[in-house]
């Protein structure tokens, strides 16, 4: 019997939880705030679903109820993607090492 593709996706999901578990434990506590803002940005990869929805209209009518929800979702996710990555960048740029002023 053939294996349902859902099982494969589920395997990816479970393995990714474990990857996430080990990767996040290795994050230094001082970077926990940037961790939250960057996870925010990457979870907005949900924009791919929004784009599919937004492009679902045909050439006569770009807008239907479904694509409208898609467009709003695109804008929301885009706020997050740009905002999340840029604010992370801004924070990370502030973390500096001690200047080598010791003998």
């Amino acid at each position: 019997m053939e294996i349902d593709p859902l099982i494969f996706r589920f395997s990816i999901f479970i393995l990714s939880i474990f990857v996430g578990y080990y990767v996040v434990w290795s994050v230094t506590p001082s970077l926990h705030t940037p961790l939250m803002s960057v996870t925010n940005a990457i979870s907005s990869v949900i924009i791919v679903g929004a784009i599919i929805a937004g492009l679902s209209g045909n050439s006569e009518s770009v807008f239907n109820i479904s694509s409208l929800f898609g467009f709003i979702a695109i804008a929301l996710a885009a706020i997050n993607i740009f905002g999340g990555f840029l604010v992370t960048q801004r924070m990370l740029a502030m973390y500096k090492k001690k200047k080598k002023d010791k003998k």
């Binding site: 990816i12 999901f13 990714s16 990857v19 994050v27 230094t28 506590p29 001082s30 970077l31 926990h32 705030t33 940037p34 961790l35 939250m36 960057v38 925010n40 990457i42 979870s43 990869v45 949900i46 924009i47 791919v48 679903g49 929004a50 599919i52 929805a53 937004g54 492009l55 679902s56 209209g57 050439s59 770009v62 109820i65 479904s66 694509s67 929800f69 898609g70 467009f71 709003i72 979702a73 695109i74 804008a75 929301l76 996710a77 885009a78 706020i79 997050n80 993607i81 740009f82 905002g83 990555f85 840029l86 604010v87 960048q89 990370l92 502030m94 973390y95 090492k97 001690k98 200047k99």
Partner: protein, 465 residues
């Protein structure tokens, strides 16, 4: 138009790049590179989606337009936001992820053909289950984050809102969500879908209102986790690997952060979620409410003590963020260092309103990150330090957590500030911290209270040094 196999491989690549983005955060040196990987992963995912849909009609212009609108708003916020407002910002961003998940689920429900999920009223069962879970978690994330945002912003009172029958009500709503999903899947009725969304929005709201302001680190981490699970749910619906991987990463990341925060307060996750902390725990403090003598001093005394010290440990807390005192603090430390005094910073895991909050503020004030230490790293050094300078922290320094089993914070890991030769405690008044308990440290022989605004006091001390 590219084949679905090829696009699946590209989605996998972007998923791996997201893993590397988180991996980079293991040290500040590699973190900037990690962020770059994250951006790259996002660009790949979005580009591949365009190519795989392959519909370059007028719709595309609108898609780009909305990306542009959202992107400019996001970029504007990212540049304008002060670092002290980071918890609010993150809560606000979580609500957007949640809402986006809900909207994607709605459009998939209304137009399943576009997503290859069957036809309206006849959506594949598996997809419908995934979709409704994604939508429900997304809705909870949205309304929960809105409440968290309002509480952090101070628009809504940070004190817990509790009422009779709260827990049974929440339990009934949670059960009804499961029941609704079950009937939705067997009837495909759109009315049930809307009801499911409405009920999920409601429960998100009800779950967060009983949680007090100082428990926000747990709440934000928890909502972070939820936004991940919502994304993963949608990822299953769309059969998109990038989304599944990312959702799982973010979900476990948020869960770990919540765990760390709960451990920092020695409370179980359920204890925090059920809420109402600080409102009822008056038993142990009420008994010893009698006036005890405290020593208070001014900036001059503080400067004198510090000038004669050889090592100083600074303990910042949420009060420092409120008073925006991080820059003034850094100037004070600069002066101390000029006098050959060794200065380090001690950060409690739950200091501030979100994980790592204090570290970001200190980094903003140009404090090198290798002078900033976590609780376990520095706690033994207090015994050898001359002065502990507590600025805006309270409960996390309370020795009662180690000595009084009756205390609500008993067992919570605290900074051993009282072991220092002398303690300078900057605070506006003697009022207890959010846990509602008196801090024994105020009355210790070697404690000098500095009653003032944190920023002003720090500036005055600098002048006197």
């Amino acid at each position: 138009m590219i084949s679905s196999n090829l696009s699946a491989i590209f989605y996998l690549v972007s998923g791996v790049l997201f893993i590397l983005a988180l991996r980079g955060l293991s040290s500040p040196e590699t973190s900037r590179q990690g962020n770059f990987f994250g951006i790259l992963g996002m660009i790949i995912a979005v580009t591949v989606t365009f190519l795989s849909v392959g519909n370059f009609s007028t719709g595309l212009i609108y898609v780009l337009l909305f990306i542009l609108i959202g992107g400019s708003i996001g970029a504007f916020i990212a540049y304008k936001i002060p670092m002290t407002a980071m918890p609010e910002l993150v809560a606000g961003f979580h609500s957007l992820v949640g809402l986006a998940a809900v909207f994607v689920a709605i459009s998939a429900f209304l137009n399943p053909e576009a997503f290859n999920l069957g036809t309206q009223g006849n959506i594949k069962l598996g997809s419908l289950i995934e979709m409704s879970i994604g939508a429900a978690v997304g809705a909870i994330t949205f309304s929960g984050s809105i409440i968290a945002f309002l509480k952090l912003q101070g628009i809504m009172s940070g004190s817990p809102i509790t009422f009779k029958g709260q827990h049974p009500l929440n339990a009934i709503i949670l059960i009804s969500i499961v029941v609704l999903i079950y009937y939705l899947c067997s009837t495909q009725s759109s009315n049930l879908f809307w009801m499911l969304l409405a009920v999920s929005f409601l429960i998100g709201f009800l779950l967060i209102i009983p949680i007090g302001g100082a428990d926000m680190p747990v709440v934000i981490s928890m909502l972070n986790s939820y936004s991940g699970w919502a994304a993963a749910g949608i990822g299953f619906t769309l059969e998109n690997t990038a989304l599944i991987i990312t959702g799982a990463l973010v979900g476990s990341s948020g869960a770990i952060l919540s765990y760390i925060m709960c451990k920092g307060m020695n409370r179980s996750f359920f204890n925090v979620i059920l809420g109402g902390f600080g409102a009822t725990d008056e038993t142990s403090s009420a008994s010893k409410k009698e006036q005890r003598p405290v020593k208070s001093g001014n900036a001059d005394d503080a400067a004198f003590l510090m000038k004669n010290a050889s090592s100083v440990i600074i303990v910042p807390g949420y009060g420092m963020a409120v008073a925006q005192a991080q820059h003034a603090l850094r100037e004070m430390v600069d002066t101390l260092k000029k006098n050959d005094i060794k200065v380090s910073y001690a950060i409690h895991p739950v200091a501030g309103r979100m994980p790592g909050h204090m570290n970001v503020l200190l980094a903003e004030a140009n404090v090198p990150y290798d002078e900033v230490f976590e609780l376990e790293e520095i706690n033994n050094d207090f015994a050898n330090a001359d002065v502990a300078f507590v600025i805006g922290a309270n409960d996390v320094t309370n020795p009662v957590a180690k000595t009084d089993p009756q205390s609500p914070i008993y067992g919570m890991p605290v900074l051993d500030v009282e072991k220092c030769k002398s303690v300078l405690f900057v605070k506006r008044s003697l009022s207890p911290g959010y846990a509602g308990i008196d801090n024994d440290l105020f009355y210790k022989e070697n404690t000098l209270m500095l009653f003032a605004d944190a920023k002003k006091m720090t500036e005055d001390i600098t002048k006197n040094l």
